[in-house]
Each structure stands twice: as structure tokens, then as C-alpha cells.
């Protein structure tokens, strides 16, 4: 049998990869996907913990999180569209009118 911690480590690893994605990707869409990935990795952890605690609440929570992720994706993508319309780029580094 695989220990729960292995699953958790995978979850954490995915989380870290998501973090890397947010930190390094200049493409706004990839960045959004990285955030999604982070949410998903948290979900994986939730499921794993749910398993280890043998309590199913985590499953319900994951359900809710999926909804949240969907909502965020919708709003985020809408913003991407507007940004692209206005600025014709989705390079996140270009959006630095506001600074200092």
C-alpha cells in the first residue's frame, strides 16, 4: 500500500510547481492555469487527508473548491479578454502602469 504521505508529497509538489508557474510565467493564461493547478493540488491534499482521517468532509470541500476554481477561471478569463482588447498583449509584465 502507498502511504498517505506519498500522496501528500505529490500534492505539495504540484503546489510548488504551481507556485513556480505563477512566479515565472509571463503569459497571463499560463499564470491563471498555474493558480488552478495550485488549487487542484490543495484538493489532492484534501482528499488525501480525508482518506487519512477517514472522514469524508474533504470530499465535499473539494467539490466546493472546484466550483470556486471555475468561478475564478471565468472571471480571470474575462479579464484576460478585456486586457487583450485594450492592450493587445497578455504579458503580465506589461501591466505595470501602476507602480511605486
Amino acid at each position: 500500500m502507498v502511504p498517505i504521505s506519498a500522496y501528500l508529497i505529490v500534492g505539495v509538489a504540484l503546489f510548488a510547481i504551481g507556485t513556480v508557474g505563477v512566479l515565472i510565467s509571463r503569459n497571463l493564461i499560463v499564470l491563471l492555469m498555474s493558480v488552478e493547478l495550485m488549487l487542484n493540488s490543495a484538493n489532492l491534499c484534501l482528499i488525501a487527508f480525508s482518506r487519512s482521517q477517514n472522514i469524508m468532509d474533504g470530499h465535499a470541500f473539494v467539490f466546493l473548491v472546484l466550483t470556486i476554481a471555475a468561478a475564478e477561471a471565468a472571471v480571470g478569463l474575462a479579464m484576460v479578454i478585456t486586457l487583450y482588447r485594450n492592450r493587445e498583449t497578455i504579458n503580465i509584465d506589461r501591466f505595470n502602469l501602476l507602480k511605486w
Binding site: 502511504p3 480525508s50 470530499h59 476554481a69 471555475a70 477561471a73 474575462a78 487583450y84
Partner: protein, 198 residues
């Protein structure tokens, strides 16, 4: 090497691989596809953890809907890999970013390793097979409609606001909006008028 372990290793590798590839793609379409790959790997892990229903939802809703939405937007905006992505960050800054992320990973995995098996309901943190109802559609549904009724209803509000928000942000301009300003900010705008102190 048991079957479980093999499945775990493979799907974990797929998940991690997909995630890694996702962030390094220049072409967003490829990114989306890699993310889907990763999600598939994760879904397998879900199933292994006795969350078959949630795993299924992950594939159906996530890969099927959300990521398609991404694809849809990418297509709509006609983004290519050659789209303006400017200069990559300087190596130092990139190193810092990797380093920080690694630290997060190391810290969290350290915590997991340290807590291994402590007080777990299962011995040594090894998951035993749960009863059938664990993770089943019925039990998840029961949970959602009893204890998690209120949060579940709240998600509807969330979705509503997301819809409204998406609409209001991304809708076409109406005639009552101001015409675009003469010096319409196009493309890279880097200069800023925030200079000159008193």
C-alpha cells in the same frame, strides 16, 4: 512492487510531468493540454484515495469545462506562441523564484515527513481499504446536502457573481461608455507620470 504502488508512481509522475510541462510551454494551447494531462494523473490518485466520485468530477468538470474555457479564450484571442512575452526575467530573479518555490515544497514535505503516521487513524499512515460507502456518490451527496448545505448554496452565489462579473468585464462596449481616450494605451506602456517630487 504492488499494483497500487505502480499505479501511484505512474500517475504521480504523469501529474507532476504534466504540471511541469504546462508552465514551460510558450504555446498556451500546449499548456492547457499538459494541464489536462496532469489532471488526469491527479484524478487517478483521487480514485486511489477512495474519492472516485470527486475524481470523476475533476475530469468532467475541470478538464471538460474549465480548461475548455481556457482553450476557448485562447482561440478567441488567437494567441500564438510568438505572442509578445518580452524578455525573460534575469537569471538571478529566476533563481530566486525557483528557490522560493523549492523551499515551499521542502518545508511542506518536511512537515509531512515529520508527521508521518502520528496519531493517524491508520497505522503508519498506510491507507487501508475503506468501506464501500467512502467516497461514493451517495455519501458525498449526503454530506453536501446536509452538513455542507449552506456552503453548497453559497457556491451558487459565487457562481452568480462570477457570471455577472465575467459579463460585465468582458462584454462589448456599449454606446454610453466613453469613447476610447485619444492617447489610447496600446501595447507596452511603461512610462509613468508618477515622477517629480515636490
Amino acid at each position: 512492487m504492488s499494483l497500487d504502488l505502480a499505479i501511484f508512481v505512474i500517475s504521480a509522475l504523469v501529474a507532476v510531468f504534466g504540471a511541469t510541462m504546462m508552465i514551460f510551454q510558450r504555446n498556451p494551447v500546449a499548456s492547457v493540454l499538459y494541464l489536462i494531462l496532469s489532471l488526469v494523473g491527479q484524478a487517478v490518485l483521487y480514485v486511489q484515495l477512495g474519492a472516485a466520485f470527486v475524481g470523476a468530477v475533476l475530469i468532467i468538470v475541470y478538464s471538460g469545462a474549465i480548461l475548455v474555457l481556457f482553450l476557448f479564450v485562447i482561440m478567441m484571442l488567437n494567441l500564438r506562441s510568438s505572442a509578445d512575452l518580452g524578455e525573460p526575467s534575469p537569471p538571478v530573479s529566476r533563481f530566486v523564484k525557483y528557490f522560493v518555490s523549492c523551499l515551499i515544497f521542502l518545508e511542506l514535505s518536511f512537515i509531512i515527513r515529520e508527521s508521518l503516521g502520528a496519531g493517524s487513524t491508520t497505522s503508519a499512515g498506510i491507507v487501508t481499504m475503506a468501506d464501500d460507502s467512502f467516497g461514493s456518490v451517495e455519501s458525498v451527496a449526503t454530506l453536501l446536502f446536509t452538513r455542507y448545505l449552506y456552503p453548497f448554496e453559497l457556491t451558487s452565489v459565487l457562481l452568480l457573481s462570477a457570471i455577472v462579473g465575467a459579463v460585465i468585464i468582458a462584454r462589448r462596449a456599449t454606446e454610453d461608455e466613453l469613447p476610447p481616450q485619444p492617447e489610447k494605451a496600446v501595447g507596452p506602456i511603461s512610462q509613468k507620470t508618477n515622477e517629480g517630487q515636490e
